[in-house]
Symmetry: C2
Subunit: 406 residues, 2 copies
Amino acid sequence: MFKLNENYLKLPGSYLFSTIGKKVNAYSAAHPDKKVIRLGIGDVTQPLAPVIIEALHKAVDEMGHAETFHGYAPDLGYEFLRNAIAENDYKARDCSISADEIFVSDGAKCDSANIQEIFSLDNKIAVCDPVYPVYVDSNVMAGRTGTYDETTETWSDVIYMPCLEENGFAPKLPEKTPDLIYLCFPNNPTGAVLKKEQLQEWVDYANKVGAVILYDAAYEAYISEEDVPHSIYECQGAQTCAIELRSFSKNAGFTGVRLGFTVVPRELKCQGVSLHSLWARRHGTKYNGAPYIVQRAGEAVYSEAGKAQLKEQVAYYMKNARYILEGLKSAGYTVSGGVNAPYIWLKAPKGMTSWEFFDCLLEKANVVGTPGSGFGPSGETYFRLTGFGSYENTVEAVERIKALQL
Amino acid sequence: MFKLNENYLKLPGSYLFSTIGKKVNAYSAAHPDKKVIRLGIGDVTQPLAPVIIEALHKAVDEMGHAETFHGYAPDLGYEFLRNAIAENDYKARDCSISADEIFVSDGAKCDSANIQEIFSLDNKIAVCDPVYPVYVDSNVMAGRTGTYDETTETWSDVIYMPCLEENGFAPKLPEKTPDLIYLCFPNNPTGAVLKKEQLQEWVDYANKVGAVILYDAAYEAYISEEDVPHSIYECQGAQTCAIELRSFSKNAGFTGVRLGFTVVPRELKCQGVSLHSLWARRHGTKYNGAPYIVQRAGEAVYSEAGKAQLKEQVAYYMKNARYILEGLKSAGYTVSGGVNAPYIWLKAPKGMTSWEFFDCLLEKANVVGTPGSGFGPSGETYFRLTGFGSYENTVEAVERIKALQL
């Protein structure tokens, strides 16, 4: 008789954003006259930039003729895209990452969920708290997290690194030694960043204790300040301790197009075995490449026209983020983020829990945000809003929240 | 100090098709004047059908305007596609599968590699021998297969079901009881099929012993005979014991477009827990949906024009398959397959091993096929050719093989 992977049954509740989706759908069904504004899930709303649309049409046309048709993609992704990434995201920032250390994929969510697979089940993970739920949940499914304590909402075998207001929402080096350290900066959900010297400390620490940093840089396009690193490979020694995860979802609006990549430097080894070879084996065996047309769209992101158009798109969302940040600040809310990231992290007013504030905003202002507690215990009483709406909706949402006079 | 997933290190050699690719590239580099014809890897060569191209362009245009832009897709896939699948692939064949039992993905390779994840590591798998390498390799990576015996090229904890000439390349029910049974019909690599009554035996067996059948029906569009089932759900009782994996790669030429789906019936349960809920949780946590434009292309496959155009495309490849089958038969080869599948399975001549014949064809005829031994020990001395080339190349390849007079 077959048996289930019982680790799945340990997962509390459903995936955060599925729960939010269900609550919002139920509210909308009951109140069809209300205009609900979604500033919750980090989905973009602006159309793809003209240069991307053009690249997609061109690639579609190629697929319609035998001479230019493309079947299975190369295991690691097309060279035209990997070269563009190596040149623009790394060489231009003096990071020595070569094209063959870049693995193209269908997005950072899959990669950040799958990357744990190449490590031993004995390895201990450390995560920021609050944190993007995928890091922990994928490790729960694999059986790496021990038992769940419903009272503290924590797993026995996970090292939590609280990111609190008093430390600028940056984690401290953990007391227990982890094997795998998940870091995401600019941070989801808090919008906080690490300065270069702060990130260098993490790289030095990882090299010292023999840990691997899984560095999620999905929001790097939103960095506006000078001394904030866009890639972990800007730090000395990161090649021997860090894997970087990147996405086209937020810098180019590809949430519905699906494209990302992971960098595994060849120097990153465990007892002489390179992690690059393991990830390559996984890609070759369990994945079949991102669509050709999508990889061509990714290439267009790095064209001169692409860079110009996407700079404008990012600026549009950051204008929203600033509007939320300043609007809520002026209304007396405790807010942070929104400067190097599209996320605004705010304290729920009047001692409300995260979900109480979620329900309050949904029902009284018809605004959807994300409850901070969904990102981990230290997120309780916090709330995440995003700059990814339209400007008009963002302004209206802020006005509605202000009008509640909480 | 972090550690690797040591199961990866147990994998012998590299992924079959990566090895072939490297050999062919090395030969081509050394002999740039030779025209190599690839009838090895199952990649298609015909361009996307006009109706698909049209659907892609239309969807790309939608992505360029805020009102019709699509961000993150619904977890299980868009309803328009799931409804089309339910209607055409299931309802039309009297299979009671509903749209919400269908999970849209980026292809059957990923799904067939990932599906093992929702089962216990204690579960014992049974595979046909020869077999598509992904089923076994993904279980090796998970740690479900025991130790590898280099002499027999088998894993200690895998139940192999030899598919030999004397039983028409159909497996017999295994002597040891498995928990998970991988079946692929029409078969890759042999091109063999199971008639409906034969498949019904497997369904009855699985229900009796409490096993799950993981049924890969990626080649169903190539079925030409009447009593061969297109879906396992044509058999009574399959809803309580079978998961079906489907692909758009071969029926619509989507190898470079990436689209597939998996059916997990709600009635399929283990001690009251539905596998549907586990797979839904995996989709929600570790996957972010197939691109909107690709799902629209998938929808077009089911339009009247789509059906007509793709029927022609399948007929084109099957004409190639017949040409290979008959050509090699007339040259004295022992061949099978090619009637309900695009694959031709042939015996290497003159007592050659599979890889000896591979090298011989590559070097003397500049034709690339796939060594049968790459699919498992019972594939040794066999060889796979496919009908997926162009007609002109197929004819030329057959003439070259004939000219060798082996």
